[in-house]
């Protein structure tokens, strides 16, 4: 495995991203030391490469990536994994608001808790939150899966028109056009397969609650 290391201590996001994109074409893995919570790190990388941040990252980390497998050994700011269209972003710590916003495919994993509006306007793909998620998780969701292992705040799946939210803990309230549906055996199998892949150890999959849309046209066409 060819590994490239970047010391980001004295570099701007533009310089870091430029080096990452150049190295992504030649190396199998890129390690970024001292990311120092800078913003937009690894934005728009579309090469099949492993990227590891040795520390915390700022806003929009890993945004709009397509194939990379990104690992963040720390916390992430707002909108981690924003609009990715493939690959995966794994945060070992916690993350701010809008984790996995607008993703089209791929997987965003946050091992601890996140802020509000997780997975807003997402179209497809999977978001896994190891801890709690704040209010309006899954707002304007148009597809994909959100899996919350902890509790979730008010108005879950507000104005959802497609997709599903699984919650293991408590649900404070449902948003407009969201409803609870019976968990199926197939759901539990899929959850087990996905969560095992990302090393989450779950005792009882039947504890998950399943939230889906009531209608694909909640506002017009009646």
């Amino acid at each position: 495995m060819k590994v490239f290391e970047i010391d980001a201590e004295n570099l701007t996001p533009r310089e870091i991203n430029s080096q990452v994109k150049e190295a992504a074409c030649e190396y199998d893995k890129i390690i970024i030391r001292n990311p120092n919570a800078k913003h937009y790190l690894a934005a728009g990388v579309t090469e099949d490469v492993e990227i590891e941040f040795d520390g915390s990252v700022g806003y929009f980390a890993g945004c709009m990536c397509d194939k990379p497998k990104i690992k963040i050994n720390g916390n992430a700011g707002w909108f981690v994994g924003d609009n990715i269209t493939g690959g995966e972003v794994i945060v070992d710590g916690s993350a701010g608001d809008g984790a996995g916003q607008g993703i089209y495919d791929g997987t965003v994993v946050v091992r601890e808790s996140v802020g509000s509006r997780t997975g807003e306007i997402m179209k497809n793909g999977t978001i896994i939150i190891g801890g709690n998620s704040g209010f309006m998780t899954g707002i304007f969701m148009m597809g994909g899966r959100i899996i919350i292992l902890g509790d979730v705040g008010d108005d879950v799946a507000e104005s959802i028109i497609r997709g599903v939210v699984y919650v293991k803990g408590e649900i404070k309230s449902l948003g407009y056009n969201a409803k609870l549906e019976e968990l199926t055996f197939e759901d539990t199998l899929n959850l087990e397969e996905t969560l095992t892949e990302y090393n989450f150890d779950i005792d009882d999959y039947s504890e998950f609650k399943k939230i889906v849309p009531e209608s694909t046209r909640p506002f017009y066409g009646h």
């Binding site: 991203n17 728009g44 806003y59 397509d66 924003d82 916003q101 306007i121 028109i161 694909t216 017009y220």
Partner: protein, 496 residues
């Protein structure tokens, strides 16, 4: 304005008692109904006609909006549509009464297409003053007039270099058919300008046919990826649009076909209602961060544009300029749309005239006028409008509704239903076949070139040699309203 629709039965059946050949339906001919197809009945977007004992009659005249598609498509020229004086009893016009009745019966607000239709001060309220002795005019026939512009060279490595300051504004695939998008792409390339994806993703055909293409980044983020942004020659962050200020894009489920749902990645038949605001842009710092984020993704190569519905123009423009935008678009309340609530179109926003002046002044106040390009949008129809927009402070203009009219649109205001008889605002294959995108692409280019030529005439008669050289001092107002909105002095003694 109400309309009187008349069908002449003698002309209608002049071919031995049969209607003429319904040429618009020949691409989907059904012999069983051919003899009674009646183009007027089939093609009226508003249900004005009904069939009574085998013949079409314009029974529902109150529904007519004057698009004249029935007239245009009648093979025997048997239809007449004429505007009639408004029937008003004080403030109570007949259209008001019809709308109140409709609301009472359906319990729904009115959705339609197009934009504000009522009288609003516009470019026609201004004139360009001619040069004479104090400054000599330039000869239109024998002396050149420059039309090229460079937009967005503040930070972008590759700014937009256009042969004319007329750009085609954002209209999405989904709102428009693939053929309409292709026609606009061809037209923009032939005219040496740029077109815009709109917020519905990028069609491969559109990218291939357009020399220059702006990739729009709107609140629904439909079809957005790194690949999408990198294929754009500029990125336009759509904060709002003039027709639907304060609301996101509306693409109703009737037009979300399998192909549209695939490119947007939303359920087929669902409504694509973009959020009213970007979920991650709710303040000045957020916009600045968004601009930086998009620059990082596109490696600082292409201009980042920010498009606003005109409201608090000065504040919004200053925020975008200070936030690092290369190009700012102000879309006045005359701006168009494929679908939106009428109450918003008619009663929200400020006129294009006023927004251009306010935006120009705002950029000057913060000392960034020379660095940030300003694009005016909303109601631009002619070379005269272009010249006046530039004189008021714009560096370029968007045309959108006007571009659609050049490929066949007749402003019937029913785009949202997906049944466009001209094959423009529809996903129905049988209707799309009606649009010859190659020919219509030439029409778009002809129209843009002619507009540019018209503007040059006004520029030259005012004594200037480049289209961008017109200034506010070259204008006079014909109405007090336009004068007050723009600060342009009244014609004559020049008092405001």
């Amino acid at each position: 304005m109400p309309y009187r629709v008349e069908r002449n039965p003698d002309l209608c059946k002049k071919n031995f008692g049969r209607p003429g050949c319904c040429w618009y339906l020949c691409d989907d001919r059904d012999e069983k109904i051919c003899g009674k197809c009646f183009s007027c009945f089939n093609n009226c977007p508003h249900g004005v006609y009904e069939i009574i004992q085998g013949d079409p009659y314009p029974l529902n005249q109150e529904k007519c909006v004057g698009c004249r598609i029935c007239l245009e498509m009648c093979p025997n020229r048997a239809i007449e549509v004429n505007a009639i004086p408004e029937d008003a009893r004080q403030g109570w016009g007949f259209p008001d009464i019809v709308e109140i009745v409709r609301q009472a019966q359906t319990a729904s607000y009115k959705l339609r297409s197009t934009g504000a239709l009522r009288r609003i001060p516009d470019f026609d309220d201004l004139v360009v003053i001619p040069a004479q002795v104090s400054r000599p005019p330039i000869d239109k026939y024998r002396e050149p007039c420059g039309t090229d512009v460079i937009l967005g060279d503040r930070y972008a490595e590759n700014p937009l270099r256009l042969a004319t300051p007329i750009m085609i504004g954002a209209m999405s695939f989904g709102a428009l058919s693939k053929e309409a998008k292709m026609a606009l792409a061809i037209g923009s390339s032939l005219a040496g300008t740029v077109t815009n994806t709109g917020e519905g993703g990028m069609l491969p055909e559109e990218r291939e046919l357009a020399d220059k293409l702006i990739a729009q980044y709107a609140s629904g983020r439909f079809g957005v990826s790194a690949d999408y942004l990198k294929k754009g020659d500029a990125i336009e962050i759509k904060i709002g649009q003039g027709a639907k200020s304060g609301m996101g894009g509306h693409l109703l489920g009737e037009k979300v076909t399998a192909e549209v749902s695939r490119i947007r990645n939303i359920p087929e038949g669902s409504d694509a209602l973009s959020p009213a605001r970007h979920m991650d842009i709710v303040g000045p710092e957020d916009l600045s961060m968004k601009i930086s984020q998009l620059r990082e993704i596109t490696d600082w190569k292409v201009p980042i544009m920010v498009k606003f519905a005109s409201g608090k123009v000065a504040s919004d423009v200053k925020i975008a300029a200070k936030g690092g935008a290369d190009i700012i678009v102000v879309d006045g309340m005359q701006g168009g749309t494929g679908a939106g609530p009428e109450v918003i179109m008619e009663h929200s926003g400020i006129p294009s005239l006023a927004s251009i002046v306010e935006a120009d002044l705002a950029l000057k106040e913060i000392g960034l006028r020379d660095q940030v390009s300003l694009v005016a949008a909303g109601g631009v129809r002619s070379g005269a409008d272009l010249a006046k927009a530039i004189a008021l402070g714009a560096d370029a203009v968007y045309i959108a509704t006007a571009a659609l009219i050049s490929i066949g649109c007749r402003v019937c205001q029913m785009c949202y239903t997906g049944t466009c008889r001209k094959g423009i605002a529809t996903q129905d294959l049988s209707l799309r076949h009606r649009l010859d995108y190659k020919e219509m692409g030439k029409n778009v280019a002809n129209y843009i070139n002619t507009m540019t030529d018209e503007a040059c005439m006004l520029v030259q008669q005012a004594g200037n040699t480049h289209i961008t050289k017109l200034e506010k001092e070259n204008l006079r107002a014909l109405t007090l309203e336009a004068s007050a909105l723009t600060g342009v002095p009244m014609a004559g003694v020049g008092k405001i």
